[in-house]
């Protein structure tokens, strides 16, 4: 049997039935039901995957090749010295300021409190805010312990000597310089203002310049948290 004969045999019954049965086939000619369902499922899967991994409009600046942050140990508002490495496994938001700061520091600390509110208590279990003083002359651990709870109970203050804090600040791209000393009443300290995100592996991942709101920082942080989830 030739190929053309086989084709004729295969198609012949269909031609007959078309000829003998009146116009019914609207239903029969539809796509098999599994095709649209599978397309829909695939679209949902792809959409979900994209939502999961696709960077939103980030508000901070990402460091694509994050490098380990040099560890440091400072006195804390908790009463005992602590190191950055003590927070390995958590996202750490590092901010440099001082308790006598009239404007920028309280505004940023309010933003960080908003971030904590936005993330909620469960997510904040994986986040630590560190407030490192650039005015160690006045910011004793006790002073920090009094000051920070007015923003959030879990914010941790860190302080030390100028010599200890200088290299820590420098690696976070922060400069600071006191415009006076113990004899000058109410002196100010000039300093850079930025919040830096250190990831659970201890690497700098993102910088939030001054002016990024708490909700915006929270959105960026949630993106990192989503991406860090693993199912294997």
């Amino acid at each position: 049997m030739s190929v053309s004969e086989r084709e004729v045999k295969r198609t012949a019954p269909a031609v007959e039935s078309t000829a003998t049965q009146p116009a019914r086939p609207a239903r029969a000619r539809r796509l098999p039901y599994w095709i649209p369902i599978s397309v829909l499922a695939l679209a949902v899967l792809l959409g979900g995957l994209l939502w999961w991994i696709w960077p939103p409009t980030l508000h901070g600046v990402v460091l694509q090749s994050p490098r380990p942050t040099a560890d440091f140990t400072l006195d804390t508002s908790a009463g005992t010295p602590m190191s950055l490495s003590d927070f390995r496994g958590k996202y750490v938001l590092v901010y440099f300021g001082y308790t006598y700061c009239p404007d920028v520091c309280p505004i940023t600390l309010n933003d960080l409190r908003d971030l904590a509110d936005e993330l909620g208590e469960p997510a904040m279990q994986d986040v630590q805010v560190l407030f490192i003083s650039v005015d160690p002359q006045r910011d004793t651990p006790e002073q920090l312990a009094t000051y920070l709870p007015s923003f959030h109970d879990d914010f941790l203050g860190m302080t030390g000597t100028v010599e200890q804090i200088q290299p820590v600040a420098s690696q976070f791209a922060i400069f600071f310089e006191a415009q006076g000393g113990p004899d000058d009443a109410g002196y100010l300290v000039d300093h850079s203002s930025a919040v830096t995100l250190v990831d659970p592996q201890g690497r700098m991942r993102m910088v939030f310049p001054y002016g990024v709101s708490g909700a915006e920082m929270a959105a960026d942080l949630q993106y990192f948290m989503r991406r860090s989830l693993r199912f294997w």
Binding site: A23, V39, L63, A173, F175
Partner: protein
Amino acid sequence: MTSQAETVPTWHEDKLSFSRLWYIVLVVPIVAALAFVIFQPVQVLPRIELAPGYSLVDQHGNRFTSEDVRGHLTLYTITYSHCGAGCPETSATMRTVQTAVNELSLGDLPTAFVSISIDPTRDTPERLAEFARQVGADGENWRFVTGDPSHLKQIIGAGFGTYYDATQADAIPFDPIYVLVDGWGIKRAVYRTGAPDLETLQRDFMLIAREVENSEGVNRFAYEAAHLFLCYPS
């Protein structure tokens, strides 16, 4: 009736339009992604890490901090004014780069050049001002700065990651380096050589300028995608 039935396409015929759908859903994005990777219509420099923060004194005797160049595309190098024969001529190179960069079309992006003296004992502001004149520096956007020795070591050693030995009295040995830092204070390129390739430097200035220009709107996604998926230029 037969003719009416024949006008309705069978699902086998629908396969054709269905395959078109597949082309749209899968093939087109894949081809577009491949074209993006292969032809690289967008090039970016890596965001390496944060440049160090500092507070130093410039050739005019004024305080000069890392905040003063925030928003500027800044090229850093190290030098000292008593740098004699055999010493890396970083200042001559900086002047060449400054001249070349001034000819580039960088849009509204301001630039800055900073030479950090590793010899604070001899390089007073007056001496640095004289040195700046000697090398023909445009003093407005090229600063010669120095500061406290321990702070300098922190900035140059730990921050910029290069070596110098300030314990030597006269000729201070150092590994020449040039670091390009963007307006966010992030290192974008590091050239560990005494004489970096001028074309590469110009290209890198231009790449960052284009990225800054396109940092708003839809174009931003293309640049962020380039950071995520493309190889950085060497």
